[in-house]
């Protein structure tokens, strides 16, 4: 697991080692929906955008 900082509550979020760029997680502690992104080779988290009108399958 990789320990990252939640962009909403600033506490630690544990993300699986194999998390992909763009993968979404819910931070249990604060309820934030967060998105993994990669910057300078390092995984980071940002708040995920909400569901868009054309999302689905």
């Amino acid at each position: 697991m990789v320990k990252l900082i939640c962009p909403l509550c600033s506490s630690t979020v544990e993300i699986p080692d194999d998390a992909l760029d763009g993968e979404l997680f819910e931070h249990d502690a604060c309820g934030a929906q967060v998105e993994v992104y990669v910057e300078e080779g390092k995984k980071k988290l940002r708040l995920a955008e909400g569901i868009s009108e054309d999302w689905g399958e």
């Binding site: 194999d18 992909l20 760029d21 763009g22 993968e23 979404l24 998105e35 992104y37 995920a48 569901i51 868009s52 009108e53 054309d54 999302w55 689905g56 399958e57």
Partner: protein, 286 residues
Amino acid sequence: MNGSADTVNVELLYDYPRLEEKLIMERLKRYDMRVMMTNVNNRPLQLGEKASDISLIRTISMYKAIYAAAVRESGGTYTVNNSETILLCGDKILTLSRIKKVGLNIPRSVVAMGKESAEAAQKSFKKPFVDKPPIGSWGRLVTLISDPIVWRSILEHREMLSSQQLRVHILQDYIEGEGRDIRAIVVGENVLGAIYRVSTAGEWRSNIALGSKPAYKKMDPELKEAIIKAAEVVNGAFVSVDLLEGDGTYYVNEVNGVPEFKGFMEATGIDVADEVAKFVRSEVRK
């Protein structure tokens, strides 16, 4: 197509990877294919570029899926699904029109381009009836109308939405299917199987995203024929077909161009991602 079994290059284009994308990636690698994961949100796609032997289009955003497929097709890459299929599946008016044209059963459907025509259209429906916009998934904005007051509110709310497409209505007969619908998965020319999606208490919609439970559905010839025809109509290489049961027959309701299959795998035990990987390998070898 170029490439051999040893050097098959597969690009998986995505925006927000779900379990499905991770499973497909893993199965492709299991068959020794080289997988390139392309996040379309941060990687530009150059028109005319040939990035791989085959591109699997797996974005959650319908428009990003159409555009990603179209760009890859511009470079001569075989796409699954292709841009036209994703467009036909992504817009329910286009899907239903094609399905109806080939004589398959669909719920009686009327398209209304705005509030006034929707008010006129509803006069031909017995209550309850279904109202939904042409785009969207997971049951969003799909409403069972049984009350004229609720209907007026729905019309007003939809008029307030900024998207033109979300102001368009599809009104449909409500097919009361014992609180469930049917989902089938098609890969290539093979119908992998079918499941029921059983609604939870208090919910009439059957989307897995809304908590419906998947259950095995035995295939029968009439069902299989409808599924195959529906997939053919949209030229789908890897699609799911949603159907309703009523009056002793099947009604095709939707075809999905970037299908989710968690529930299907749970109910059938069929490894859909593995079937997709085998299909990819066979297509590249052609």
